[in-house]
């Protein structure tokens, strides 16, 4: 190699710039000019003013330091969180908020998974739901009202449509309202598929008379269900499980229907547990619920 260049700093700088720009152009500038970097799902809508305010708070509080927003196309990941993330879901995200560390769970499919009430209570006291959670409390966000003028400027910068009524109504909303609204819209442009439902072979609970199953069911209930359905199933964020009307019908819910409800969840805010609890554990839970109903 000729040593000339190491005596000519300007020439050296020019050559170095060119060398640096080759990879930059191929992997960064060129893709930007192609449509594959600008996809949009048909169902995807721009954020509303309230949702954008929530997203701003999500960024301000640095939620992306602990929570990712992209489900990888890996089997267990899809089971845990739902359908894997699509490129066309993030058209309105400036910047993308995929994150790089999952200290807390992924949030790409959190929208609609729980009812609003769950989020309000969980933000206020996560440890009441998950005693071992290390998430900081964010209940204090409810003490600050939103600023319509500021959010209007943010909507304008993003080019999102809004009405004056929409933004002015925000003055009565708190930062926590906005954050919950943002949570509830995340990942909703992709239709929810029911969790992987295990075929329910039995019409009746095979573990109905099993005392051990009742005990296991009680344990599972305390870990997964009590936070919403209350102690012994007396109700809370979720409906009471004691009065036998929680499907809107009186008394005629079959064991297999309860099983399916637990496994698949509902659109009304009951998350699916089919991917987390195996068949034996779900039937044990059914045993426990039946037992609680009968003892009341």
């Amino acid at each position: 190699m000729s040593g000339e260049i190491y005596r000519k700093p300007i020439m050296f700088a020019i050559v170095a710039t060119v060398v640096i720009l080759i990879g930059t152009i191929v992997t960064m500038f060129y893709p930007m000019l192609t449509p594959e970097m600008h996809p949009k799902l048909e169902n995807l809508k721009p954020y509303t003013a309230l949702q954008l305010a929530g997203k701003d708070i999500y960024q301000r509080e640095g939620c992306n330091n602990c929570h990712t927003q992209t489900v990888r196309p890996l089997k267990t990941e899809v089971m845990r969180y739902g359908e894997y993330s699509k490129a066309g879901e993030f058209t309105y995200d400036r910047p993308f908020l995929w994150g790089s560390k999952r200290t807390g769970p992924d949030l790409a499919r959190i929208g609609g998974k729980y009812p609003d009430a769950w989020h309000y209570q969980h933000f206020d006291n996560q440890q009441a739901f998950f005693p071992e959670s290390n998430m900081p409390k964010y209940g204090w966000l409810k003490d600050t009202r939103l600023n319509p003028a500021e959010i209007e400027a943010h909507m304008k910068a993003n080019g999102f449509p809004y009405t004056k009524e929409e933004t002015s109504s925000l003055s009565s909303k708190s930062e926590l309202d906005a954050l919950v609204a943002y949570m509830q819209v995340l990942g909703t442009a992709v239709a929810k598929k029911p969790a992987q439902v295990r075929a329910v072979a039995e019409e009746k609970n095979p573990l109905a008379e099993d005392a051990k199953a009742y005990q296991l069911g009680e344990e599972i209930y305390k870990q997964n269900c009590e936070a919403c359905h209350g102690q012994d199933g007396k109700g809370g964020i979720g409906p009471s499980l004691q009065d036998r009307t929680w499907l809107g019908k009186e008394g005629d819910i079959s064991d297999s229907q309860i099983f399916a409800l637990i496994a698949d969840g509902t659109q009304a805010g009951m998350p699916p547990y089919g991917a987390q609890l195996d068949k034996n554990r779900i039937w044990s839970l059914v045993s426990y619920i039946r037992h609680e109903q009968q003892s009341k």
Binding site: I10, G23, T24, G62, T70, E77, F90, R94, S100
Partner: protein, 465 residues
């Protein structure tokens, strides 16, 4: 004596400032490490994990890292061009502006002004400040090099020139945004495109802040402090050009299994694997340099800092490419493995090499010897133990996390809830805090040693006068 004068005050100012910001960054690091297993230590609104973590990363990357890079680069440039800086007053202004910018940056991050781009969190007014800082640096570096008194440009100057150019391009392009008020902006790029730009930047911030300027220090201060010439000039030429060529292709390895188009991911992975070669070019060059006389490891206390530093660089540049491979990424991405990896680079390679360079420079500036080699050795061992314990702990818990997330029951359902996986991190997170504490104590020995050397130097100068 030479007839020219080096502006040592500015160099010293940058070194002292960088140490100060380093202390801030390390203390915040310890704090957030405890927050992970003691959430009560989150004090809203300013001191929650989400806000503090960016103070930690920015404080150390920009405060400690860039501060030391500015100071030591000025030192190296002056020595290698055999002349003072072309604009010494501008350099002094650079120092003041740097400290003002870092202070404002810390305040703004505590306030939650955050672009949510990793390592580019600062909001747009501060971005402009950073660009001004960089332009001043570039003017002084290029100006001084152009007006140099030594014809040949030594390796370290190549790396400094590449740093100045690459960081400018990276920082400006990734920080382009749509302002929405003085304290808020939205990325010019959206969705997958935003992700691709950010990680092109993010990975090359590592490449051109934590690699090239540190290599400039390594190539200058290793021969200087040992008296041994660099083993192969030809190898350093090959390593330099292939490194600065390949780095820019690799950002997408941060986005494996995301919705980013597959071809960009694959290209990123391939070039990441290629990067092992130029990285190890410098590692081999370093080993063979000291290899001509290994007794330097015993007789010169700085040699082991440089050799350990370049060893961590070597490990880092093998581990990194391994992580980029899809099957490995699917296990360890998003887990604590990754902070384990990053901290081997920063606590091992960057801090060791920078500290050794400062150990060399400060006595030179004060025309004296280091205060205590014993204290420096204690510093070395504490930092080494702390760093190893930190990274190994994180690797173990990272693999465990990844495995728990993937574990299934015989019937195919998931074996562990997310919470069950999280709870298993706690003992490792506690150990990590202990490791961080050991590292911090090591750094306190370093600071004490530098402080005492400066005091000694001042006393000497006074007695001479």
């Amino acid at each position: 004596m030479s007839d020219y004068q080096y502006d040592h005050q500015t160099v010293k100012g940058f070194i002292v400032s960088s140490i100060f910001w380093g202390v801030v960054g390390i203390v915040v690091g310890l704090w957030i490490s405890i927050q992970l297993w003691r959430p009560e230590l989150n004090i809203p609104p300013f001191f929650t994990y989400g806000r503090l973590r960016v103070v930690h990363t920015n404080g150390l990357a920009f405060g400690l890292g860039i501060g030391a890079i500015f100071g030591l680069s000025y030192y190296i440039v002056m020595r290698l061009t055999k002349r003072p800086l072309l604009f010494p007053k501008l350099a002094r202004f650079h120092l003041y502006l740097f400290n003002a910018a870092i202070a404002l940056a810390a305040v703004s991050l505590f306030m939650g002004m955050n672009q949510s781009l990793e390592y580019a969190e600062l909001e747009w007014p501060l971005d402009i400040g950073v660009v001004i800082l960089w332009v001043i640096f570039a003017i002084n570096v290029f100006g001084t090099i152009i007006k140099r008194k030594e014809e040949q440009m030594y390796i370290s100057l190549w790396y400094i020139i590449a740093t100045v150019i690459a960081v400018a391009v990276l920082y400006i392009v990734n920080n382009l945004s749509i302002p929405a008020g003085l304290f808020k902006s939205y990325h010019l790029y959206a969705g997958v495109n935003s992700a691709n730009v950010e990680w092109w930047y993010g990975h090359n911030a590592v490449g051109f802040i934590f690699t090239t300027p540190i290599l400039a220090m390594f190539y200058y201060f290793l021969p200087k402090s040992t008296g041994l010439p660099i083993f192969s000039h030809r190898l350093s030429i090959i390593a330099f050009w292939s490194l600065v060529f390949a780095y820019l292709w690799t950002g997408a390895h941060h986005l494996v299994y995301t919705p980013l188009p597959d071809w960009i991911q694959t290209l990123g992975i391939v070039f990441t694997l290629f990067l092992i070669a130029p990285s190890w070019g410098s590692v081999v060059n370093g080993y063979y340099t000291v290899g001509s006389d290994w007794s330097k490891m015993q007789t010169n206390y700085l040699t082991k800092f440089f050799i350990m530093g370049i060893t961590f660089y070597g490990l880092q540049t093998v581990q990194g490419p391994t992580q980029a491979i899809r099957v490995v990424s699917s296990l360890i991405h998003y887990t604590d493995w990754v902070p384990g990896h990053v901290h081997m680079g920063t606590m091992g390679w960057v801090t060791m090499t920078t500290a050794a360079s400062i150990y060399y420079v400060i006595p030179k500036i004060y025309n004296t010897e280091i205060y205590s080699i014993k204290v420096a050795n204690t510093h070395f061992w504490l930092v080494l133990i702390g760093q190893l314990m930190f990274s190994i702990t994180m690797w173990i818990t990272g693999i465990q996390q990844g495995a728990l997330w993937k574990a299934v029951n015989p019937d195919g359902s998931l074996k562990y809830t997310f919470m069950e996986g999280l709870a298993k991190n706690y003992p490792f997170w506690q150990l990590r805090t202990v490791a961080g504490l050991i590292f911090t104590i090591g750094m306190l020995f370093f600071i004490y040693n530098i402080y005492m050397t400066m005091r000694k130097g001042k006393a000497l100068a006074a007695s001479r006068a």
